[in-house]
């Protein structure tokens, strides 16, 4: 903890040893285990991993909207130094929207079909900012312009079904940012969109975040989006962060064998490959995560220690990786 602070400047978001559990009839499932990372003001942290790795759940835990019966069972989340994971609902509500915005995956289902986009913007703005309805409406139109809705002054009275998918996601972005939060949790913001629209929406998010100095946690499984947008990347696997580092280092020189496999599965544009690399097997279910390193059954570099002892994040190349290959005394294996 002291280490991050010494890295210069206080982190905006600090997640420490976060543990999320789901009590079920057949025992407790651990969905997130010992997840730690920081997001600094204005920084974009990409979070990648396969489906079910816990990316979205991390986002849900931060905004305090875990689906019951899921619950935070350990660790802490701090926003600008203030602990927020144990706040009562009403206090956390005031933080949501105002200090942490959220963007969801599917713009077709995120907007309430019975209210105009203007109404939804105005209610969000008046909830958090000391503006009267007329001022809030003017602000709503401004936001629609900022996210690139043509003829915003007219479209403000349109209902969500009168917009296309890409336009709706722009409205969602306006809704997430309209109370000017310092942090935005964007959960797969482009996954449900047409490929041709994805780039536009990502570019918009990136521009707005930079203009407003908003930090972002960008959850996605699209490495292209990460490479283009993020400053740093956290790779998640089976509910744990297994590697974290600057985007260039993780994409080009991944330290953890899983991240290396993940990056190897991106087709290079420069030359044609006959066969993409793939990682054999699949991620374990939450109910059967193996002891030691959760990746050990699939890992090409596995050795005895991986099956017994769970690795912590260790300095590895330019990054930090949860892999025994980088433990003191194991250096020989790296090139073996």
């Amino acid at each position: 903890m002291s280490q991050t602070q010494s890295m210069g400047g206080q982190a905006l978001l600090q997640v420490r040893n976060l543990r999320v559990e789901f009590p079920t009839r057949r025992g407790t499932l651990v969905a997130l285990d010992d997840v730690s990372f920081d997001i600094h003001p204005g920084e974009v942290l990409g979070v990648v991993g396969e489906s079910g790795a816990g990316k979205s759940m991390t986002g849900a835990a931060i905004i305090g909207l875990l689906e019951p019966p899921g619950r935070i069972a350990g660790g802490e989340i701090r926003l600008a130094g203030r602990r927020i994971d144990d706040l009562p609902y009403e206090e956390l509500r005031r933080i949501r929207g105002r200090q942490i915005g959220a963007i969801f995956q599917d713009p077709l289902t995120t907007l309430n079909p019975l209210y105009t986009v203007g109404d939804q913007l105005v209610e969000t703005i008046t909830t958090h900012l000391p503006l009267n309805p007329a001022e809030a409406r003017r602000r709503a139109v401004e936001w629609l312009e900022m996210v690139g809705i043509p003829a915003a002054a007219q479209r403000v009275d349109s209902y969500p079904h009168e917009f296309s998918g890409g336009m709706r996601q722009r409205v969602v972005i306006a809704l997430a940012l309209c109370a000017e939060p310092k942090l935005v949790v964007a959960d797969e913001p482009t996954t449900a969109l047409d490929v041709s629209i994805q780039a536009q929406v990502i570019a918009l998010l990136k521009t707005l975040a930079r203009e407003k100095g908003t930090a972002m946690m960008l959850v996605t499984h699209d490495m292209g989006v990460i490479a283009e947008t993020a400053d740093r990347v956290a790779v998640m696997y089976a509910g744990r962060v297994i590697e974290i580092g600057a985007v260039r280092d993780v994409v080009k020189h991944a330290a953890h064998p899983y991240s290396a496999g993940l990056m190897g599965s991106i087709p290079p544009i420069s030359h044609r490959v006959e066969r993409l690399e793939q990682i054999d097997g699949s991620m374990p279910r939450l109910s059967s995560i193996p002891p030691g390193c959760p990746y050990n059954p699939r890992c090409p570099r596995v050795f005895d220690r991986c099956r017994v002892e769970r690795p912590e994040l260790l300095p590895a190349k330019a990054n930090r990786a949860a892999c025994w290959l980088y433990a003191p005394g194991e250096e020989g294996r790296l090139h073996g």
Binding site: R93, R96, G97, P113, L114, T124, H128, Y159, M167
Partner: protein, 326 residues
């Protein structure tokens, strides 16, 4: 909008035609009106005169058409039992039934919707469990038993409320109302609860399941993620989205309340159309039964139209004519 209403009215026509045909067939095939009207003692000449008088010697379809023509003008002939015009009888009884149905509907909605919202939001609270158990009673106990139990408790034991009739009514033109006197209002309470209880539990269970469904949607999650207060999320965003199915069922139930007030009216000797109908069935008073049948069909057709119009008010996705943008 106008063309929509016209097309719905055109669709309602066949429904009304079929119902009127069935009503008419009752005239023709259920019992012999001539024998009922003549009684025990008659001559063949009297019988023939009555048959000509009623037009029963004409072919079936000619009779049907003249029945239709009369029905369209609100003319259903004379009641066999009371020898008075059916239209007059119904107009006399309608206010009692409509006031009762209105009160029952208000009870059902004003209590059922909040209970549904509460049980949908706080699924596991003891109060929700109590409401659900109570609703099971409402759904499963027959109406006449509920009525009798209420009479026993509030009229016989406690002596608070009258056990039968409308109490004092005030005449406003041809309409007689029980709303303006204390006695009339008191007389409404028990029958309105009896009639509305089943609908109340139905609406409560419907609102509850719709709320639970809607609360799982992304837009509710997103409304929470935007930091909106619970009140706005629950009553603005969630409840409004449950309204379309609730309006449908509530509308049909209002029709059912009017149509099936028969049991409640019998238990409370309520001088409404249901009681008139039951008495008419007892003496094979076919013109009254036919008129009642057609009127109920008209009520349902009207309510369906109103329900469809309400959809438009609630759900913007159904409104056409606005430009689709991209």
């Amino acid at each position: 909008m106008f063309s929509f209403i016209v097309s719905r009215l055109l669709q309602a026509l066949p429904v009304m035609l079929v119902v009127s045909f069935i009503s008419f067939a009752m005239f023709a095939y259920v019992g012999d009106p001539v024998a009922i009207m003549l009684g025990q003692d008659f001559t063949e000449a009297q019988r023939q005169a009555l048959i000509t008088d009623l037009g029963l010697d004409k072919p079936f379809f000619v009779q049907f058409l003249s029945f239709l023509g009369n029905a369209a003008q609100g003319e259903f002939g004379l009641s066999y039992r009371l020898s008075r015009p059916v239209a007059e009888l119904i107009a006399e009884r309608a206010p009692a039934t409509l006031e009762l149905a209105l009160c029952a509907a208000i009870v059902a909605l004003a209590v059922g919707v909040p209970m549904g919202v509460y049980t949908g939001l706080y699924r596991n609270s003891w109060l929700s469990r109590f409401f659900l158990t109570f609703s099971l009673v409402g759904v499963s106990l027959p109406t006449f038993l509920i009525g009798i139990l209420l009479i026993l408790t509030f009229s016989v034991w406690l002596g608070w409320l009258p056990s039968f009739g409308r109490g004092d009514v005030v005449r406003l033109g041809w309409w007689s109302t029980g709303f303006l006197t204390w006695g009339g209002l008191k007389a409404l309470i028990l029958p309105a609860i009896t009639l509305g209880l089943f609908q109340l539990t139905l609406i409560m269970r419907l609102v509850r399941s719709e709320m639970m469904e809607v609360l799982r949607t992304d837009y509710i999650k997103f409304a929470r993620a935007r930091g909106l207060p619970n009140r706005a999320v629950h009553f603005g965003h969630a409840l409004k989205n449950t309204l379309v199915p609730v309006i449908t069922i509530a509308g049909l139930q209002l029709g059912a309340i009017i149509a099936f007030a028969i049991v409640t009216e019998t238990v409370f000797q309520w001088p409404g159309m249901g009681l008139l109908f039951i008495q008419s069935v007892g003496s094979a008073d076919i013109p009254v039964m036919a008129a009642y049948l057609m009127m109920i069909a008209l009520v349902f057709v009207t309510i369906n139209l109103v329900v469809d119009l309400l959809y438009y008010a609630v759900d913007p996705r159904l409104r056409i004519g606005r430009g689709k943008g991209h």
